[in-house]
């Protein structure tokens, strides 16, 4: 059995996330995104690779969150390409995705005058096919396929998806964040038995600083600006960042008793705030805990902004869309505010090339030519935000380490960085890791469990605890020093109730697990045990070295029992009392058994012993079991 992962998008790149995973005959499409950087056919994943009939070849689609690079191609795929199977996403994603898609469609069609890829009706129709899921709700897609969503942070409603078919299980993370921000929590998942984890790797090599430092820098910049009577422009995306920054400011305003007004420009943001207020259960602990007394998205200091207030005197803070100052209201405000050096413009972490945001971030320009007639004097301060809703390299490592899957596939990242991360995952965690390019398939083996019937005796033995303690002796560790003994547990405990079972597979019968004692009975055989035996000559001098004075010349006259006592005394020095048993006739250490050999022709005696020795030597007949071999040879060497 194998799990095949066909990467249709976001392989060694960021954009148009789309991975098709085949597990035990089920095919799941994770995400169906579009690439914002391309305008030709490369904008969408190459759906032709799926097969001729989408409905037949795909079991379901699962969307992790509402960002366009994860959902942008969905209306096209369902309405234009004609997929009509089930689509799963979380409730917030289902609520917010149409907003995002419609906004995008408008921008594309109405502003840029491009050919329309899908219509508003398409979006509506597409959304009708969506089945919403809740966090940690196990959805039985069909008889064999189970999916479950886990909280991923990142944006409102983002989820990591666990999918299980039969015994094979995998997690597709989507985008996630391992550190919480002001309004969303950190990703949260159970420890699962996984064959495969497909994780994003946007920041495959970056290790980010404390979020507190980022917040401090931001607050300090804003506070200094408004304290000096300046205006702060925060161009931001409608969803997510604006709310986080606003909660941060609101909190700070409250504590510092600041009265400077904060404005939200009209548009998506205010509508989005409403969604946030309704979807409280998807936010962080703090917001959830306090929302009964104060909904964090009920911004006390926030007012609606009016176009006429752009040139009003006095300090203020304004959130305006779009985020990259690529046009719209944020550009309009920017034109008015940029020329004054008391003002401040904060820039998001990432701006597409060609936008004003990008120009501002790459060096500090003094003049920006908007078009051939308009030129803006930029004298205001620029503050770059380093907030990001993606986890950093450490977060990826932490998650992979926590989940400890058998294989890892990296998507949604840049190739050279992914290579570095792959190296780390393989060397530090010992997990095989892949980062396929687009349209490549990675095949990994999956777990398959066979069902077996258990015998009663085995079940009984399983329910009774049966632990054993074993002590390993230091000498087993080759080359270890005496000091080292502290660092290795000598005492170890094992409980082999299950290990004692024996799997019996007979033809035409179901596999069966039986207790080891049952096996001879079943097979009609007797139990055999392998024992070693050796009859070794006793070197009396060896034994007597300590008692020379007393027993000189004693060799032949001494009785056999005395010899055994001598050996016993010697062994007592070596072993603790508990392990050495003296039965008079014979001595026993673990399974090692020694007695005086009285036979003339002991079968275990080596024949090449010299003739002259043979007449006078006394022999010890030794026997032992396999597991005590080392011990046995050690004792024999002392004889």
């Amino acid at each position: 059995m194998a799990i095949d992962s066909l990467v249709l998008g976001a392989g060694q790149e960021v954009g148009k996330s789309c991975v098709i995973v085949t597990i035990n005959g089920k095919r799941i499409m994770f995400d169906c995104g579009m690439h914002m950087g391309h305008l030709d056919h490369r904008r969408y994943p190459d759906f032709s690779l799926i097969g001729p009939n989408f409905d037949q070849s795909l079991t379901c689609i699962v969307i992790t969150h509402f960002h366009l690079d994860h959902i942008g191609a969905l209306p096209y795929f369902t309405e234009v390409c004609g997929y009509s199977g089930p689509i799963y996403m979380t409730y917030p994603t289902k609520a917010l995705a149409p907003l995002m898609l419609e906004d995008y469609r408008k921008v594309m069609v109405e502003r840029r005058g491009e050919e329309e890829q899908f219509t508003s009706e398409h979006i509506v129709e597409c959304m009708k096919k969506v089945i919403p899921v809740d966090l940690k709700q196990t959805v039985q897609v069909d008889k064999d396929l189970q999916i479950r969503a886990y909280y991923a942070g990142h944006v409102l409603g983002a989820a990591m998806i666990y999918a299980k078919v039969g015994d094979a299980a995998m997690v597709y993370t989507g985008d996630y964040n391992m550190t919480p921000d002001r309004h969303l929590g950190a990703a949260q998942i159970d420890r699962l038995n996984l064959d495969l984890v497909i994780t994003e790797s946007t920041y495959a090599t970056t290790i980010r600083d404390s979020k507190y430092a980022r917040e401090r820098e931001f607050l300090r910049a804003v506070h200094t600006c408004v304290a000096g009577g300046g205006k702060v422009l925060i161009p931001s995306f409608a969803l997510g960042r604006a709310q986080e920054l606003c909660i941060l400011l609101e909190d700070y305003w409250g504590r510092m008793n600041l009265k400077v007004p904060i404005y939200f420009s009209a548009g998506l943001t205010r509508q989005a705030n409403m969604y946030y207020k309704m979807l409280i259960s998807w936010t962080s602990q703090k917001v959830k805990e306090t929302h009964s007394t104060h909904n964090a998205f009920d911004f006390k200091n926030v007012h609606k902004f009016d176009r006429s207030m752009i040139d009003a005197p006095g300090p203020c803070v304004l959130f305006a869309t779009p985020g990259m100052i690529s046009g719209g209201f944020s550009l309009e405000v920017f034109k008015h505010w940029a020329p004054s050096e008391t003002n401040l413009v904060t820039m998001p972490g990432y701006c597409v090339a060609g936008t004003i945001g990008h120009k501002l971030m790459s060096g500090k320009p003094t003049k920006i030519d908007l078009d051939k007639d308009t030129r803006i004097d930029v004298r205001c301060q620029i503050h770059q935000l380093t907030f990001s809703p993606h986890t950093d390299a450490k977060g990826i490592m932490d998650l992979v380490k926590f989940l400890s899957p058998k294989h890892v596939i990296l998507v949604h990242g840049e190739k050279p960085r992914m290579a570095t991360l792959k190296g780390r995952i393989q060397s530090e965690l010992g997990i095989p890791c892949y980062y396929p390019a687009n349209n490549e398939t990675v095949s990994i083996p999956s777990t398959h469990y066979a069902t077996a019937v258990a015998s009663d005796a085995f079940v009984r033995s399983c329910s009774n605890p049966n632990f054993k303690f074993s002590t390993s002796s230091w000498e087993d560790e080759h080359g270890s020093t005496s000091r080292n003994k502290n660092f290795i547990p000598r005492l170890q405990v094992t409980d082999d109730r299950v290990a004692q079972g024996i799997l019996v597979m007979e033809k035409n019968k179901k596999a069966k697990v039986v207790h080891q004692d049952e096996l001879p009975l079943m097979l009609g055989e007797e139990k055999h045990q392998v024992k070693f035996a050796y009859c070794c000559p006793a070197h009396i001098g060896n034994l007597q070295e300590n008692q020379e004075t007393e027993s000189s010349g004693l060799s032949l006259s001494s009785t056999n029992d005395d010899l055994l006592q001598l050996l016993s005394a010697k062994l007592a020095n070596e072993f603790s009392e508990g392990s050495l048993h003296d039965f008079g006739e014979h001595l026993q250490v673990e399974s090692f058994h020694v007695s005086i050999c009285l036979k003339e022709n002991c079968p275990y005696r080596l024949r090449d012993v010299g003739v002259e020795e043979k007449s006078e030597a006394v022999f010890f007949c030794c026997s032992w079991e396999v597991e005590d071999e080392k011990l046995a040879w050690k004792i024999i060497s002392m004889c």
């Binding site: 550190t179 919480p180 002001r182 929590g185 950190a186 949260q188 159970d190 420890r191 290790i207 980010r208 600083d209 404390s210 979020k211 507190y212 430092a213 917040e215 401090r216 607050l219 300090r220 909660i247 909190d251 700070y252 409250g254 504590r255 510092m256 008793n257 962080s284 602990q285 703090k286 950093d392 450490k394 490592m397 932490d398 380490k401 926590f402 530090e428 009984r460 329910s463 009774n464 605890p465 632990f467 303690f469 002590t471 560790e477 080359g479 270890s480 020093t481 000091r483 080292n484 502290n486 660092f487 290795i488 547990p489 000598r490 005492l491 405990v493 094992t494 409980d495 109730r497 299950v498």
Partner: protein, 924 residues
Amino acid sequence: MEDHVPRACDYTLNLPSVSPNQPLSTETLASLRSLIINPSTPAPAVTSIFETLTRSLQLSRDPLVIHHTLKLLSDLASRHTHLSGLVFDSVCSNSLLSTESTRVAAESLDVLASIAESNRTLAPAIEEIDDRLFASLCFSPSAAIRPWLLRNAERFGVQPYLLSSLFLGFTKDPYPYVRKAALDGLFGLSKTGVIEDGDMIRGCYFRAVELLNDMEDCVRSSAIQAVFAWGLMLMACDLETKAYWSDEVFVKICSMARDMSMEVRIEAFHALGKIGMVSEDILLQTLSKKVLVATKEKKSLAQCSDEQLKLSGSIVAGAFMHGLEDEFHEVRKAACHSLGTLTILSSKFAGEALNLLMDVLNDDSMSVQLQAFETMHQMATFGHLKVQERHMHMFLGTLVDHNTLTRSAARKILKLAKLPDLKLFRSTIDALLDNLEMCPQDEADILNEVSPQMEPVSNVKLGFDNVRVAALLVLAISAPFSQEHGCSIPPSIFSYAVTYLGRISHALSDIMHQDGLLNYLSKCSKSSGPYDIEFDFAVRELSGFIAVPLPQKRDGTSDILSSTVKEPREVELSLVEYRLEVHDEVTKLMNVVLAKVKDIWPFVQSGFTNEVLRTLRSCREELATFTCGSIASASVFTFTLQYIKIMKLLAKAWVNFLPSRHFPSCRMGNLDFLLGKLDARLSELKTTFIRLSKEEELHILELILVTCVLKLSKVEICCHLSTLRKLSRTMARVESLLQDETVEPSRFTIEVRKLLSEIGASLNGSSCNLSLFRRELESFSLMQLVLCGRLRHIKADLDIPDNNYEHPLRFVAGLPVGIPCHITLHNVMVQSRLWLKMTANGIDDSQFVYLDLNLFGGCDDLRIVTFTAPFYKTPKAFSFTIRVCICMECLSEDEDVSSLKRCGPRHELTYLCRETEVFLSMLK
């Protein structure tokens, strides 16, 4: 009603007695239960119930019935303790422990153990329960009972070595709750410290480490505790490798800091803080998500075999950073707390940690913020708080936080903080000023706590001392306000500055004259208008303060300053005058009155008692004419009033020691009474006022000395020794106050000192000559008491609402009654021990209830609480009254030996309020 109970009982018991060979039904058991828990069930009935139950226990084989029966027996034993021994025996003897049903056996064990816990005499019996039995129960197939057995193992006195093997073995159990119980057991066992076998310790430790990777949250959380506890044992058993082990344990626990379960993370951070020894490299690594070079190169003791230690860097990396930015405030708080204990280990680590902590001040949870302050405070206490400039924005921001707790916590740290340079110092002062401006209610705290203690680290370099800082601070307070904020400054701030006048003028004596300063400040404090004073307020430019341009008064009556106005010597002299200069109206007036009081002394000495008393009376009348608004002035007022009363008593007593020919001597009894009263008043004065200045306290002490000497010089004295003891004790206090030689001892004090050394030389104090003491008295003369206005009166208000003789509280004779008290405390320090004294009328014995000040809200200045005090000894009377009052223990006084045996105050008491009468009447 009660008559019916036995009959009902007989009736119920009929059922089993009819068919003694049948086990009880569930219904019967239920009805038996009501009889058992009813306290009115007569003893014979209980006994017969016990017998029935025992019989049933023998007969029944149904585990459900046995279960209920055992439950009833355990109830019976707990409610009727005299039967507990019998129950114990019956459960023991019924061979329940060796039945096939593990559940029944476990339940019987539970019953036995709980009986033994309440009845100590049976404790040895429970010890006798065979270890083998316990072990065999554990090994039974019933997995449901196993966790219970493991959790309760400690109750059965099982041998530690057997226990440890059991626990260790069961960590391998497939059921997570068994594993958890086993780990918890191991954790508990480690605390007893009986396991000393190195192999065992290592075995347990490594097994716990394995379980850190368990699939279940609860097991991982217990595993952390176990790893920590057994790790500590490993550290303890070999000093040579202690460092290695502490690092090892630390790294292992750190690896759990990124667990997905909040409980596990909390547990991990709690454990991290308790490890008392970690190498600095590892500590530093916990603050950085990037793997540091130092950790990479770290050589471990066991480097030969331990491959994974090379990875420890990446395991530990950023553990605390993650902890501090965790989603859950519980985790953040735990991380913050642990950080505090770890910063003690290394100052370098503390420095790095501070960078993070400063940011935590911006946390959205109040409790985390306060914990961060707490941690910083801890760092400051250990001298590891090194504030840098980049911290200041965040830190000073908290000084103007709208939350009072935050502000005061920040100031508390500022008090201990060492500021590295002048620039920081200045910005700190600016922030304090903003704080003051924003929240005037903080001013006392700001000025009294922060300013005197704030010392820049490089004192010498900056060239100014403590006092100077205070002075500059006050100047800085008054100056910039007056210029920059126009009239927004409340005059009270200037009054504050005036209280610092002595210090200011002293500190700045080389550049300014205190006359001018006083004028300036008092003018400012009176007017609220724009200050018509030409200060060039570059005073904030502290760097060149020698050249500080100082105010010049326009009207020219007094030249406030010039660079060298007076000779230093003169300055010193005038300084003394001004230090005594008083700063608010009430205190000034009081001092005028007190000056009059001083003038009466010659009259007292010459025996004109009537005149003296008249003068004092007029003083009191004068005092009565004015009302006082603020708490401070009220305290001064009360003080003066009491002082005058004392003077009256002293004058009355003194006359008895004059040559008696002129004056008809009072009767001796009367004198005793007077002296006793005088003594009491003086102690009251001493204990119920706090923040007495040294001069004020010395004055009171001297009066106490005089009283003692008066007592001693009496002809018949009954308590010679104790008075002598008091004399020497008071003298010791005087000596300690005089130690720094800023105040000259009076002649009388010197005489007493001499006298005491003489007495000490002679063998027995009582052999001293009376005339010796009499001579002493001649050297006494009353000094003028000058109040400086800082003192505060400790007092309490006690109110029993809705209670008078028409509306008494209801009580049942013999049962305690709750008395609702509304208590208001003024100026009570948190360390004082307060008692509520309750005395029933006609009964000598008083009952004391301790008032825990932690119950009160508010601060030292004012605490308010509603408290229900229990009064136990309600008599068999239709109605009675209790006198209630609040007392404070004088910890400085001798222990009252007679009160040792009963619970209650051990020292002399001072009454903080008048006795309030509470009316009680019996409930009909």
